[in-house]
Protein backbone atom coordinates (compact mmCIF):
# COMPACT_ATOMS: atom_id res chain seq x y z
CA UNK A 1 0.00 0.00 0.00
CA UNK A 2 2.88 2.35 0.87
CA UNK A 3 4.44 1.51 -2.53
CA UNK A 4 1.20 2.51 -4.30
CA UNK A 5 1.35 5.98 -2.70
CA UNK A 6 4.82 6.44 -4.18
CA UNK A 7 4.22 4.91 -7.63
CA UNK A 8 0.89 6.60 -8.38
CA UNK A 9 2.07 10.21 -8.11
CA UNK A 10 5.24 9.37 -10.05
CA UNK A 11 3.15 7.83 -12.82
CA UNK A 12 0.87 10.84 -12.88
CA UNK A 13 3.89 13.16 -13.02
CA UNK A 14 5.43 11.26 -15.93
CA UNK A 15 2.10 11.11 -17.75
CA UNK A 16 1.68 14.84 -17.32
CA UNK A 17 5.16 15.31 -18.66
CA UNK A 18 4.33 13.29 -21.77
CA UNK A 19 1.11 15.23 -22.25
CA UNK A 20 2.70 18.67 -21.89
CA UNK A 21 5.80 18.00 -24.07
CA UNK A 22 4.82 19.24 -27.51
CA UNK A 23 6.14 18.45 -30.94
CA UNK A 24 6.46 21.09 -33.65
CA UNK A 25 7.17 20.45 -37.31
CA UNK A 26 9.39 22.77 -39.31
CA UNK A 27 9.45 22.32 -43.07
CA UNK A 28 12.59 22.80 -45.10
CA UNK A 29 11.31 24.05 -48.44
CA UNK A 30 13.09 26.02 -51.15
CA UNK A 31 16.30 25.96 -49.11
CA UNK A 32 14.61 27.83 -46.25
CA UNK A 33 13.02 26.91 -42.94
CA UNK A 34 9.27 27.43 -42.88
CA UNK A 35 9.66 29.74 -39.86
CA UNK A 36 12.44 32.15 -38.97
CA UNK A 37 11.68 32.03 -35.24
CA UNK A 38 9.97 29.48 -33.03
CA UNK A 39 9.11 29.56 -29.32
CA UNK A 40 8.95 26.23 -27.48
CA UNK A 41 8.95 24.98 -23.92
CA UNK A 42 11.86 23.01 -22.45
CA UNK A 43 11.22 19.37 -23.22
CA UNK A 44 9.61 20.04 -26.59
CA UNK A 45 10.81 18.30 -29.72
CA UNK A 46 11.08 19.94 -33.13
CA UNK A 47 10.83 17.78 -36.23
CA UNK A 48 12.73 19.19 -39.21
CA UNK A 49 11.34 17.72 -42.42
CA UNK A 50 13.27 18.05 -45.68
CA UNK A 51 10.77 18.72 -48.46
CA UNK A 52 13.46 19.76 -50.96
CA UNK A 53 15.04 17.46 -53.53
CA UNK A 54 18.56 18.13 -52.24
CA UNK A 55 20.39 17.17 -49.05
CA UNK A 56 20.26 19.45 -46.02
CA UNK A 57 21.95 19.44 -42.65
CA UNK A 58 20.89 20.52 -39.16
CA UNK A 59 23.28 22.30 -36.83
CA UNK A 60 21.93 23.46 -33.46
CA UNK A 61 24.04 26.26 -31.98
CA UNK A 62 23.56 27.55 -28.43
CA UNK A 63 24.28 31.03 -27.07
CA UNK A 64 27.87 30.03 -26.26
CA UNK A 65 28.46 29.02 -29.88
CA UNK A 66 28.52 25.32 -29.05
CA UNK A 67 27.19 23.44 -32.06
CA UNK A 68 25.51 20.07 -32.25
CA UNK A 69 25.72 18.63 -35.76
CA UNK A 70 22.71 16.43 -36.36
CA UNK A 71 24.18 15.16 -39.60
CA UNK A 72 23.03 15.04 -43.18
CA UNK A 73 19.39 14.92 -44.10
CA UNK A 74 18.43 13.44 -47.45
CA UNK A 75 15.29 14.53 -49.31
CA UNK A 76 12.22 13.33 -47.39
CA UNK A 77 14.16 12.66 -44.18
CA UNK A 78 13.15 14.05 -40.78
CA UNK A 79 15.59 15.07 -38.06
CA UNK A 80 14.22 15.39 -34.53
CA UNK A 81 15.77 17.75 -32.03
CA UNK A 82 14.80 17.72 -28.35
CA UNK A 83 15.16 21.14 -26.74
CA UNK A 84 15.46 20.22 -23.08
CA UNK A 85 17.14 23.35 -21.76
CA UNK A 86 15.95 26.93 -21.73
CA UNK A 87 17.84 29.37 -23.93
CA UNK A 88 18.15 30.79 -27.40
CA UNK A 89 19.36 28.48 -30.15
CA UNK A 90 20.22 29.09 -33.77
CA UNK A 91 19.47 26.26 -36.19
CA UNK A 92 21.45 26.32 -39.43
CA UNK A 93 22.14 24.23 -42.47
CA UNK A 94 25.89 24.08 -42.99
CA UNK A 95 25.36 23.51 -46.71
CA UNK A 96 23.04 26.46 -47.29
CA UNK A 97 24.42 29.33 -45.16
CA UNK A 98 21.39 31.60 -45.48
CA UNK A 99 19.14 28.81 -44.24
CA UNK A 100 18.79 29.57 -40.54
CA UNK A 101 16.18 30.08 -37.83
CA UNK A 102 16.05 30.90 -34.12
CA UNK A 103 14.46 28.65 -31.49
CA UNK A 104 13.67 30.25 -28.14
CA UNK A 105 13.22 27.66 -25.37
CA UNK A 106 11.43 28.74 -22.16
Amino acid sequence: MRQLWIVAPATLFLAAGVCFAAATEIDQVGQKFSQTTLAVVAGDTVHFVNHDDVTHNINVIDADDNAVDKGLQKPGDTIDQLFDKAGKFVVRCSIHPKMKMTVVVK
Binding site: G30, Q31, D53, V54, N57, L72, S94, I95, P97
Partner: protein
Protein backbone atom coordinates in the same frame (compact mmCIF):
# COMPACT_ATOMS: atom_id res chain seq x y z
CA UNK B 1 36.41 16.81 -97.54
CA UNK B 2 33.26 17.58 -95.52
CA UNK B 3 33.25 14.00 -94.15
CA UNK B 4 36.84 14.51 -93.06
CA UNK B 5 35.93 17.73 -91.23
CA UNK B 6 33.03 16.04 -89.46
CA UNK B 7 35.35 13.22 -88.48
CA UNK B 8 37.78 15.73 -86.99
CA UNK B 9 34.97 17.32 -84.99
CA UNK B 10 33.81 13.92 -83.77
CA UNK B 11 37.35 13.06 -82.70
CA UNK B 12 37.58 16.28 -80.70
CA UNK B 13 34.28 15.44 -79.00
CA UNK B 14 35.36 11.88 -78.19
CA UNK B 15 38.71 13.08 -76.88
CA UNK B 16 37.00 15.40 -74.45
CA UNK B 17 34.57 12.70 -73.35
CA UNK B 18 37.39 10.27 -72.71
CA UNK B 19 38.97 12.88 -70.50
CA UNK B 20 35.90 13.02 -68.35
CA UNK B 21 36.70 10.29 -65.88
CA UNK B 22 36.36 10.85 -62.17
CA UNK B 23 33.87 12.46 -59.82
CA UNK B 24 32.20 15.58 -61.06
CA UNK B 25 29.75 18.39 -60.47
CA UNK B 26 29.28 22.05 -61.40
CA UNK B 27 32.77 23.23 -60.60
CA UNK B 28 33.00 19.62 -59.53
CA UNK B 29 34.94 20.07 -56.30
CA UNK B 30 32.27 22.55 -55.11
CA UNK B 31 29.58 19.93 -55.75
CA UNK B 32 31.64 17.28 -53.96
CA UNK B 33 32.23 19.56 -50.98
CA UNK B 34 28.56 20.45 -50.53
CA UNK B 35 27.00 17.15 -51.60
CA UNK B 36 24.77 19.15 -53.92
CA UNK B 37 24.17 18.42 -57.59
CA UNK B 38 25.33 20.95 -60.19
CA UNK B 39 21.68 22.03 -60.62
CA UNK B 40 21.57 23.37 -57.05
CA UNK B 41 23.95 26.20 -57.95
CA UNK B 42 23.69 26.56 -61.72
CA UNK B 43 20.99 27.35 -64.23
CA UNK B 44 20.90 24.45 -66.66
CA UNK B 45 22.88 22.24 -64.25
CA UNK B 46 26.25 23.50 -65.49
CA UNK B 47 28.34 26.56 -64.71
CA UNK B 48 28.82 29.39 -64.69
CA UNK B 49 25.27 30.84 -64.69
CA UNK B 50 24.32 31.09 -61.01
CA UNK B 51 21.05 30.45 -59.21
CA UNK B 52 20.34 31.93 -55.75
CA UNK B 53 22.27 29.22 -53.91
CA UNK B 54 25.21 29.60 -56.30
CA UNK B 55 25.45 33.28 -55.47
CA UNK B 56 25.10 32.46 -51.76
CA UNK B 57 27.90 29.89 -51.97
CA UNK B 58 30.22 32.42 -53.59
CA UNK B 59 29.20 35.22 -51.22
CA UNK B 60 30.09 33.08 -48.20
CA UNK B 61 33.55 32.34 -49.60
CA UNK B 62 33.15 28.94 -51.28
CA UNK B 63 33.25 27.26 -47.85
CA UNK B 64 29.81 25.64 -47.39
CA UNK B 65 30.18 21.95 -46.73
CA UNK B 66 28.15 18.88 -45.96
CA UNK B 67 30.57 18.16 -43.11
CA UNK B 68 31.90 14.90 -44.50
CA UNK B 69 35.58 14.36 -45.34
CA UNK B 70 36.64 15.24 -48.88
CA UNK B 71 39.90 15.11 -50.73
CA UNK B 72 41.76 18.15 -52.03
CA UNK B 73 39.41 20.51 -53.89
CA UNK B 74 40.91 19.89 -57.31
CA UNK B 75 38.79 19.70 -60.47
CA UNK B 76 39.27 19.75 -64.22
CA UNK B 77 37.33 20.86 -67.26
CA UNK B 78 37.96 20.31 -70.94
CA UNK B 79 36.33 22.29 -73.73
CA UNK B 80 36.45 21.17 -77.34
CA UNK B 81 34.57 22.53 -80.31
CA UNK B 82 33.94 22.86 -84.02
CA UNK B 83 33.66 26.32 -85.61
CA UNK B 84 32.22 27.24 -89.00
CA UNK B 85 32.17 30.86 -90.17
CA UNK B 86 30.12 32.26 -93.05
CA UNK B 87 33.27 33.28 -94.89
CA UNK B 88 36.72 31.81 -94.81
CA UNK B 89 39.35 33.71 -92.85
CA UNK B 90 42.34 34.23 -95.17
CA UNK B 91 45.57 32.97 -93.66
CA UNK B 92 43.73 30.78 -91.18
CA UNK B 93 41.34 31.34 -88.32
CA UNK B 94 44.40 31.38 -86.07
CA UNK B 95 47.97 30.16 -86.23
CA UNK B 96 47.89 26.38 -86.79
CA UNK B 97 44.27 26.49 -87.99
CA UNK B 98 42.54 26.36 -91.37
CA UNK B 99 40.58 29.29 -92.86
CA UNK B 100 37.32 27.59 -91.91
CA UNK B 101 35.62 24.53 -90.37
CA UNK B 102 38.03 24.04 -87.50
CA UNK B 103 37.79 21.45 -84.75
CA UNK B 104 39.71 22.51 -81.67
CA UNK B 105 40.62 21.65 -78.14
CA UNK B 106 39.63 25.11 -76.87
CA UNK B 107 41.04 24.77 -73.40
CA UNK B 108 41.77 22.44 -70.53
CA UNK B 109 41.62 23.86 -67.00
CA UNK B 110 42.60 22.67 -63.55
CA UNK B 111 40.86 24.28 -60.57
CA UNK B 112 41.81 24.66 -56.96
CA UNK B 113 38.27 25.40 -55.96
CA UNK B 114 36.81 24.94 -52.53
CA UNK B 115 37.18 25.30 -48.80
CA UNK B 116 40.61 25.59 -47.22
CA UNK B 117 39.58 26.75 -43.73
CA UNK B 118 36.21 27.43 -42.03
CA UNK B 119 35.90 30.88 -43.61
CA UNK B 120 38.54 30.74 -46.36
CA UNK B 121 37.91 29.43 -49.86
CA UNK B 122 39.17 29.79 -53.38
CA UNK B 123 38.38 29.57 -57.04
CA UNK B 124 41.72 29.33 -58.84
CA UNK B 125 41.79 28.28 -62.49
CA UNK B 126 44.90 27.33 -64.43
CA UNK B 127 44.25 26.97 -68.14
CA UNK B 128 45.93 25.50 -71.18
CA UNK B 129 44.65 27.43 -74.19
CA UNK B 130 44.49 24.95 -77.05
CA UNK B 131 44.15 27.68 -79.69
CA UNK B 132 47.00 29.95 -78.57
CA UNK B 133 48.86 26.88 -77.25
CA UNK B 134 49.88 28.60 -74.06
CA UNK B 135 49.21 27.86 -70.40
CA UNK B 136 48.75 30.27 -67.54
CA UNK B 137 46.81 31.50 -64.55
CA UNK B 138 43.17 32.06 -65.48
CA UNK B 139 40.31 33.42 -63.35
CA UNK B 140 41.29 33.59 -59.69
CA UNK B 141 39.24 34.61 -56.66
CA UNK B 142 40.35 33.89 -53.08
CA UNK B 143 38.06 35.07 -50.32
CA UNK B 144 37.48 35.12 -46.56
CA UNK B 145 33.89 35.64 -45.46
CA UNK B 146 31.82 35.69 -42.27
CA UNK B 147 28.30 36.59 -41.28
CA UNK B 148 26.72 38.27 -38.29
CA UNK B 149 24.29 41.03 -37.41
CA UNK B 150 24.33 44.80 -37.75
CA UNK B 151 21.47 46.90 -36.35
CA UNK B 152 19.60 43.63 -35.88
CA UNK B 153 19.91 42.90 -39.60
CA UNK B 154 21.74 40.03 -41.25
CA UNK B 155 25.18 41.00 -42.45
CA UNK B 156 27.65 39.06 -44.55
CA UNK B 157 31.10 40.53 -45.08
CA UNK B 158 34.29 39.40 -46.68
CA UNK B 159 37.64 40.28 -48.18
CA UNK B 160 39.00 38.90 -51.40
CA UNK B 161 41.95 38.88 -53.74
CA UNK B 162 41.40 38.35 -57.46
CA UNK B 163 42.94 38.93 -60.86
CA UNK B 164 40.13 40.43 -62.94
CA UNK B 165 37.52 43.08 -62.19
CA UNK B 166 34.09 41.38 -61.99
CA UNK B 167 35.54 37.88 -61.54
CA UNK B 168 34.47 38.25 -57.92
CA UNK B 169 30.96 39.37 -58.85
CA UNK B 170 27.88 37.35 -57.90
CA UNK B 171 25.84 38.07 -61.02
CA UNK B 172 26.07 36.88 -64.62
CA UNK B 173 25.31 40.33 -66.01
CA UNK B 174 28.90 41.51 -65.52
CA UNK B 175 31.65 40.82 -68.06
CA UNK B 176 33.75 37.93 -66.77
CA UNK B 177 30.87 35.50 -66.14
CA UNK B 178 28.42 36.87 -68.69
CA UNK B 179 26.65 35.11 -71.57
CA UNK B 180 27.78 33.47 -73.79
CA UNK B 181 29.57 31.32 -71.22
CA UNK B 182 31.89 29.95 -73.84
CA UNK B 183 32.43 31.08 -77.40
CA UNK B 184 34.61 30.27 -80.35
CA UNK B 185 38.21 31.39 -80.22
CA UNK B 186 38.38 30.74 -83.97
CA UNK B 187 35.64 33.10 -85.12
CA UNK B 188 36.13 36.82 -85.77
CA UNK B 189 35.28 39.08 -82.83
CA UNK B 190 34.76 42.83 -82.72
CA UNK B 191 37.92 44.81 -81.97
CA UNK B 192 36.58 47.57 -79.72
CA UNK B 193 35.84 46.77 -76.10
CA UNK B 194 35.73 48.78 -72.92
CA UNK B 195 38.51 48.25 -70.41
CA UNK B 196 36.25 46.62 -67.81
CA UNK B 197 34.88 44.25 -70.43
CA UNK B 198 37.66 41.72 -69.99
CA UNK B 199 40.65 43.77 -71.14
CA UNK B 200 42.22 43.81 -67.67
CA UNK B 201 41.60 40.16 -66.92
CA UNK B 202 44.68 38.35 -65.63
CA UNK B 203 46.86 41.47 -66.14
CA UNK B 204 46.05 42.85 -62.70
CA UNK B 205 45.85 41.80 -59.09
CA UNK B 206 43.43 43.42 -56.69
CA UNK B 207 42.23 43.25 -53.11
CA UNK B 208 38.85 44.33 -51.93
CA UNK B 209 36.15 44.11 -49.30
CA UNK B 210 32.47 43.41 -49.68
CA UNK B 211 29.30 43.26 -47.65
CA UNK B 212 25.68 42.27 -48.05
CA UNK B 213 23.33 43.94 -45.58
CA UNK B 214 19.89 42.53 -44.83
CA UNK B 215 20.11 40.34 -47.93
CA UNK B 216 19.39 43.51 -49.90
CA UNK B 217 22.29 45.95 -50.29
CA UNK B 218 25.56 44.63 -51.70
CA UNK B 219 28.70 46.77 -51.81
CA UNK B 220 32.15 45.81 -53.03
CA UNK B 221 35.16 48.10 -53.32
CA UNK B 222 38.62 47.08 -54.48
CA UNK B 223 41.94 48.45 -55.63
CA UNK B 224 43.80 46.82 -58.50
CA UNK B 225 47.33 47.24 -59.75
CA UNK B 226 48.86 46.18 -63.03
CA UNK B 227 51.19 43.21 -62.95
CA UNK B 228 54.74 43.73 -64.12
CA UNK B 229 55.75 42.33 -67.48
CA UNK B 230 57.92 39.70 -65.81
CA UNK B 231 55.06 38.57 -63.60
CA UNK B 232 52.62 38.44 -66.52
CA UNK B 233 55.16 36.43 -68.46
CA UNK B 234 55.66 34.07 -65.52
CA UNK B 235 51.88 33.62 -65.29
CA UNK B 236 51.70 32.53 -68.88
CA UNK B 237 50.86 35.64 -70.86
CA UNK B 238 52.68 35.69 -74.19
CA UNK B 239 53.48 37.61 -76.27
CA UNK B 240 53.94 40.79 -74.24
CA UNK B 241 55.40 42.99 -76.96
CA UNK B 242 53.15 45.93 -77.75
CA UNK B 243 50.76 45.33 -74.88
CA UNK B 244 49.62 48.14 -72.64
CA UNK B 245 51.28 48.91 -69.31
CA UNK B 246 48.93 49.91 -66.51
CA UNK B 247 49.97 52.90 -64.43
CA UNK B 248 48.98 53.47 -60.80
CA UNK B 249 46.13 52.04 -58.79
CA UNK B 250 42.80 51.13 -60.35
CA UNK B 251 39.80 51.75 -58.08
CA UNK B 252 36.81 49.48 -58.68
CA UNK B 253 33.32 49.69 -57.20
CA UNK B 254 30.22 47.57 -57.22
CA UNK B 255 26.83 48.41 -55.68
CA UNK B 256 23.73 46.28 -56.07
CA UNK B 257 20.22 46.02 -54.65
CA UNK B 258 18.44 42.69 -54.71
CA UNK B 259 15.08 41.34 -53.66
CA UNK B 260 13.29 38.00 -53.79
CA UNK B 261 9.51 37.99 -53.94
CA UNK B 262 6.52 35.81 -54.81
CA UNK B 263 7.56 33.28 -52.17
CA UNK B 264 11.16 33.36 -53.41
CA UNK B 265 10.05 32.20 -56.84
CA UNK B 266 11.08 35.50 -58.40
CA UNK B 267 14.26 37.49 -57.93
CA UNK B 268 15.37 40.89 -59.20
CA UNK B 269 18.58 42.87 -58.95
CA UNK B 270 19.78 46.24 -60.18
CA UNK B 271 23.29 47.54 -59.78
CA UNK B 272 26.20 49.63 -60.91
CA UNK B 273 29.91 48.89 -61.24
CA UNK B 274 32.93 50.57 -62.72
CA UNK B 275 36.57 51.51 -62.55
CA UNK B 276 39.11 54.15 -63.45
CA UNK B 277 42.48 53.22 -64.97
CA UNK B 278 45.44 54.82 -66.68
CA UNK B 279 47.94 53.14 -68.99
CA UNK B 280 50.80 53.58 -71.39
CA UNK B 281 49.44 52.42 -74.76
CA UNK B 282 51.66 49.74 -76.23
CA UNK B 283 53.77 49.94 -73.09
CA UNK B 284 55.35 53.16 -74.36
CA UNK B 285 55.71 55.74 -71.60
CA UNK B 286 58.19 57.93 -73.47
CA UNK B 287 55.68 60.76 -73.91
CA UNK B 288 55.24 61.02 -70.18
CA UNK B 289 51.50 60.90 -70.66
CA UNK B 290 48.89 58.23 -70.16
CA UNK B 291 45.55 57.26 -71.64
CA UNK B 292 42.88 57.30 -68.94
CA UNK B 293 39.60 55.43 -68.93
CA UNK B 294 36.58 55.75 -66.69
CA UNK B 295 34.06 52.94 -67.06
CA UNK B 296 30.62 53.36 -65.52
CA UNK B 297 28.24 50.46 -65.90
CA UNK B 298 24.71 49.53 -64.89
CA UNK B 299 23.24 46.05 -64.78
CA UNK B 300 20.07 44.16 -63.96
CA UNK B 301 19.13 40.53 -63.34
CA UNK B 302 15.82 38.70 -63.14
CA UNK B 303 15.13 35.05 -62.33
CA UNK B 304 11.87 33.15 -62.04
CA UNK B 305 12.03 29.65 -60.54
CA UNK B 306 8.69 27.96 -61.10
CA UNK B 307 9.02 25.46 -58.22
CA UNK B 308 11.46 26.39 -55.46
CA UNK B 309 11.25 22.91 -53.90
CA UNK B 310 13.07 21.42 -56.86
CA UNK B 311 16.53 22.30 -58.14
CA UNK B 312 15.53 20.96 -61.55
CA UNK B 313 12.51 23.23 -61.82
CA UNK B 314 12.03 25.07 -65.09
CA UNK B 315 13.25 28.63 -64.76
CA UNK B 316 13.69 31.86 -66.64
CA UNK B 317 16.89 33.83 -66.20
CA UNK B 318 17.67 37.21 -67.72
CA UNK B 319 20.64 39.57 -67.51
CA UNK B 320 21.44 42.98 -68.93
CA UNK B 321 24.30 45.43 -68.70
CA UNK B 322 25.26 48.73 -70.23
CA UNK B 323 28.82 50.06 -69.97
CA UNK B 324 29.87 53.62 -70.78
CA UNK B 325 33.56 54.35 -71.15
CA UNK B 326 34.97 57.86 -71.12
CA UNK B 327 38.37 57.94 -72.83
CA UNK B 328 41.09 60.58 -72.28
CA UNK B 329 43.70 59.64 -74.85
CA UNK B 330 46.60 62.02 -74.17
CA UNK B 331 49.31 59.45 -74.84
CA UNK B 332 47.68 58.02 -77.98
CA UNK B 333 47.21 61.59 -79.20
CA UNK B 334 50.92 62.31 -78.86
CA UNK B 335 52.10 58.96 -80.21
CA UNK B 336 49.61 58.31 -83.00
CA UNK B 337 47.44 61.33 -83.57
CA UNK B 338 44.32 59.86 -81.98
CA UNK B 339 41.55 62.21 -80.97
CA UNK B 340 42.25 63.42 -77.47
CA UNK B 341 38.81 62.44 -76.15
CA UNK B 342 36.53 59.56 -77.01
CA UNK B 343 33.89 57.25 -75.72
CA UNK B 344 32.65 53.73 -76.13
CA UNK B 345 29.32 52.22 -75.09
CA UNK B 346 28.50 48.54 -74.84
CA UNK B 347 25.10 47.03 -74.13
CA UNK B 348 24.08 43.39 -73.79
CA UNK B 349 20.89 41.63 -72.77
CA UNK B 350 20.19 37.91 -72.66
CA UNK B 351 17.41 35.62 -71.56
CA UNK B 352 17.36 31.86 -71.11
CA UNK B 353 14.69 29.31 -70.30
CA UNK B 354 15.98 26.22 -68.54
CA UNK B 355 13.79 23.15 -69.06
CA UNK B 356 14.24 20.60 -66.30
CA UNK B 357 17.84 21.77 -65.86
CA UNK B 358 18.58 19.76 -68.99
CA UNK B 359 17.77 21.85 -72.07
CA UNK B 360 18.58 25.57 -71.92
CA UNK B 361 17.89 27.75 -74.95
CA UNK B 362 19.25 31.31 -74.70
CA UNK B 363 19.30 34.41 -76.85
CA UNK B 364 21.30 37.62 -76.51
CA UNK B 365 21.40 41.00 -78.21
CA UNK B 366 24.69 42.89 -78.08
CA UNK B 367 25.80 46.26 -79.30
CA UNK B 368 28.93 48.40 -79.12
CA UNK B 369 29.10 51.97 -80.37
CA UNK B 370 31.43 54.91 -80.01
CA UNK B 371 32.71 58.13 -81.50
CA UNK B 372 34.83 57.80 -84.65
CA UNK B 373 38.53 57.91 -83.87
CA UNK B 374 40.53 57.02 -87.00
CA UNK B 375 43.93 56.76 -85.36
CA UNK B 376 42.68 54.91 -82.29
CA UNK B 377 40.24 52.24 -83.44
CA UNK B 378 42.11 49.98 -85.83
CA UNK B 379 39.10 49.29 -88.03
CA UNK B 380 38.65 50.34 -91.67
CA UNK B 381 35.75 52.73 -91.01
CA UNK B 382 37.32 54.22 -87.86
CA UNK B 383 33.94 53.65 -86.24
CA UNK B 384 33.96 50.92 -83.58
CA UNK B 385 30.29 50.00 -83.90
CA UNK B 386 29.22 46.35 -83.86
CA UNK B 387 25.89 44.70 -83.12
CA UNK B 388 24.26 41.34 -83.40
CA UNK B 389 22.60 38.36 -81.77
CA UNK B 390 23.73 35.15 -80.13
CA UNK B 391 21.42 32.15 -80.06
CA UNK B 392 22.31 28.99 -78.18
CA UNK B 393 20.81 25.77 -76.99
CA UNK B 394 22.63 23.73 -74.36
CA UNK B 395 22.02 20.15 -73.31
CA UNK B 396 23.24 18.85 -69.93
CA UNK B 397 22.33 15.24 -69.19
CA UNK B 398 23.64 14.99 -65.62
CA UNK B 399 24.16 17.16 -62.56
CA UNK B 400 20.65 16.54 -61.21
CA UNK B 401 19.63 14.89 -57.89
CA UNK B 402 18.58 11.68 -59.67
CA UNK B 403 21.38 11.53 -62.20
CA UNK B 404 22.50 7.95 -62.69
CA UNK B 405 26.06 8.98 -63.48
CA UNK B 406 27.28 10.96 -60.47
CA UNK B 407 30.92 10.89 -61.52
CA UNK B 408 30.83 13.56 -64.19
CA UNK B 409 28.93 16.08 -66.19
CA UNK B 410 29.02 17.45 -69.69
CA UNK B 411 27.49 20.36 -71.53
CA UNK B 412 26.78 20.04 -75.25
CA UNK B 413 25.80 23.24 -76.99
CA UNK B 414 25.03 24.65 -80.40
CA UNK B 415 25.62 28.39 -80.68
CA UNK B 416 25.18 30.81 -83.54
CA UNK B 417 26.54 34.37 -83.55
CA UNK B 418 24.97 36.69 -86.14
CA UNK B 419 26.28 40.20 -86.78
CA UNK B 420 24.18 43.02 -88.17
CA UNK B 421 27.18 45.36 -87.98
CA UNK B 422 30.82 44.43 -87.56
CA UNK B 423 33.64 46.85 -86.75
CA UNK B 424 31.69 49.80 -88.10
CA UNK B 425 30.37 48.23 -91.28
CA UNK B 426 27.10 46.59 -92.25
CA UNK B 427 28.58 45.40 -95.55
CA UNK B 428 29.63 41.79 -95.26
CA UNK B 429 28.98 41.89 -91.51
CA UNK B 430 27.36 38.48 -91.84
CA UNK B 431 30.62 37.06 -93.21
CA UNK B 432 31.66 36.94 -89.56
CA UNK B 433 28.66 34.92 -88.44
CA UNK B 434 29.77 31.74 -86.74
CA UNK B 435 28.33 28.35 -85.91
CA UNK B 436 29.95 26.92 -82.77
CA UNK B 437 29.44 23.34 -81.61
CA UNK B 438 30.87 22.79 -78.17
CA UNK B 439 31.45 19.99 -75.72
CA UNK B 440 32.36 21.02 -72.18
CA UNK B 441 33.36 18.26 -69.77
CA UNK B 442 33.82 18.64 -66.02
CA UNK B 443 35.16 16.19 -63.47
CA UNK B 444 36.74 16.00 -60.04
CA UNK B 445 39.96 14.24 -59.08
Amino acid sequence: MRVCQCLKAACAVVAALCGGIGNAGAVPSFADQTGQPCAACHVGAFGPQLKPFGREFKLYGYVSTDGTPHGPPVSMTIQSSFTHTNADQPGGAAHWFAPNDNPALDQASIYLAGRWAPHLGSFVQITYDGVARTAGLDNTDIRYAKDGNLWDRDLVWGIDVNNAPTVEDLWNSTPIWGFPYNRSKLAPTQLAATLIDGALAHNVVGAGAYTLLDDTVYLHVALYGGLSRDTRNDLGEVPLAGTNTLVGAIPYWRLALQRSFDGDRQYAQIGTYGLHASLYPGGDGSAGRTDSFTDIAFDANYQWIFDTKSVVSDMISAHATWIHEDQRLSASNVHGGANRNGNLDTGRADISYSIGATWTPSVQYFQTSGAPNPMYFAVPSAVPNSAGFVGEIAFVPWGKPDSTWKAGNIRLSVQYVAYTRFNGSTNHASDNNALFLSLWTAFHF
